[in-house]
Amino acid sequence: MIRLFDFDLSGNCYKVRLLLAFLGLEYEKTNIDYYPGRQHRTDAFLRINPLGQLPVIEDGDYRLRDAQAILVYLAHKYDHGGNWYPTDNPDLIGEISQWLAFADQLTTTASAARLESAMFFELDGDAARAGAHKLFRILDAHLWFREDAGADWICSADEPTIADIACFPYVALSEEGGVSREDYPAIRRWLDRVKRIPGFCVMPGVFPAGPAV
């Protein structure tokens, strides 16, 4: 059985929980008390991940860290339909990788702002918020042009990909870090579309969408 080293309020752990839910995979969770316990800095956890970061998964003897890497691995191994991470199209693989890297930048901005204002991590909250707005403007414009072309998802595919999952949590949680989404209508519509994907699950701070109009 897959084991997820998890913290309930972590958006990066939530990415993995989302994909596992979409794929209908059973898994076990080991709670790492990231806040307030800072268990990710303990020797026991540093032996699991020397970077002291969540999430980590174990699948049999195989251990993997980094949310984006885990999404790639799980989708490639367990998504037999192949829509979450299609590997037959070089252009699309490139695009997905580009947006996975973008998701990592959301972690250093939108997520950092949330850690600073909700959990009092000693980070530069204003710089993080400014960085998040810069990324949100780029994502909003991208999604607006995608919608204009009749498409729903971040990458050039008919179905959502792991890029949508990777970008979703820290955009959806941004207001907890003081990053308003008022100016990003295409982002708001995309968040609702992600929430309506069958199998979607919530975390504290993320509410389900109402029925589609």
């Binding site: 008390d33 307030p36 204002s117 909700a118 009092f120 504290p204 701070g205």
Partner: protein, 291 residues
């Protein structure tokens, strides 16, 4: 309000030998814990190193796992929670979360059962069990405390040791303008009550640090599981609280339309008015009524 004790941080989570900074009523405050466990707190003045001027020292005490300080002159100790001293209880400082809303808004949300099925779905409530039944609210004779009793609510997972849904009885106390203590039936012992408290530190008019404390009967779970359960619930409340408008609690009775379930909240707002509270609220006299 200034003459009350306010929580600053969990004693256990406060790193030894470091000066930590926070705010109380918008003022910068510093606190520290030394190797002997002695706690100190100061008002920060200008660019001076905290503590370098002894006249800036603030009264400080440790209660219920948290460091408490005051910028005024309290007329006594912090309100009692006698259960905290019972030997077989699990006392857990469950964590501190920052919320961008007034402390009184957070207390009011803590007192409200009506939101359980919608915000804490599957844990503290579940549709269609949405009814808040009639309950009692009274202010103690000395006026120091609000007490709401016989609050019954159906909960799918009332506590960390719940194995099935049950009608749970709640009692709420408001013994402090920004703190509340609730008592709920324990799934382990029908004669005893679990205690869950929220201690709010008003960092500004429209910002708070919410410190959570549990004193519960749980012989199964680890502290970090209990903390996680409580953080999960508070994490669900946070976006609801931050989307409240206005961010300060309006005390004018007609400012917001209460329903029967809001009986405790009505008494709480009146009680704050009677005590002359002006911080984190919109006093009744200042409320602008729009037609």
């Amino acid at each position: 309000m200034a003459n009350q004790w306010y929580p600053l941080a969990s004693v256990e989570e406060t790193a030894v030998g470091r000066v930590h900074r926070t705010r109380l009523f918008g003022e910068p405050i510093a606190y520290a814990k030394d190797t002997a466990g002695t706690l100190t707190a100061w008002r920060c003045t200008g660019s001076q190193q905290p503590g370098s001027d002894p006249s800036t020292a603030l009264p400080v005490i440790a209660r219920y796992g948290y460091i408490w300080a005051t910028i005024g002159t309290p007329d006594g100790d912090i309100f009692p929670i006698p259960e905290y001293g019972e030997a077989d209880r699990r006392n857990v400082a469950a964590g501190t979360i920052g919320v961008q809303v007034s402390a009184q808004r957070a207390v009011e949300n803590f007192l409200d059962m009506g939101h359980f099925p919608f915000v804490h779905t599957g844990i503290l409530g579940q549709e269609p069990h949405t009814e808040v039944k009639e309950y009692n609210v009274a202010v103690s004779q000395d006026g120091r405390e609000i007490l709401a009793t016989e609050c019954l609510f159906y909960q799918p997972m009332a506590s960390t040791v719940s194995t099935s849904g049950a009608d749970v009885e709640y009692t709420y106390r408001v013994p402090h303008p920004t703190c509340s203590v609730l008592y709920k039936s324990s799934p382990l012992d029908e004669k005893r009550l679990d205690v869950i408290a929220i201690f709010c530190q008003p960092t500004g008019h429209e910002t708070l640090r919410g410190h959570m404390m549990l004193s519960i009967l749980d012989d199964v779970n680890t502290d970090d599981f209990i903390r996680n359960f409580q953080l999960h619930i508070f994490g669900q409340d946070k976006p609801i609280l931050e989307n409240q408008f206005p961010k300060r609690l309006p005390l004018e009775p007609r400012a917001e339309t209460p329903i029967r379930a809001d009986k405790t909240s009505i008494v709480y707002r009146r009680w704050l008015s009677q005590h002359g509270v002006t911080y984190g609220v919109i006093p009744a006299s200042e409320q602008v009524n729009t037609p």
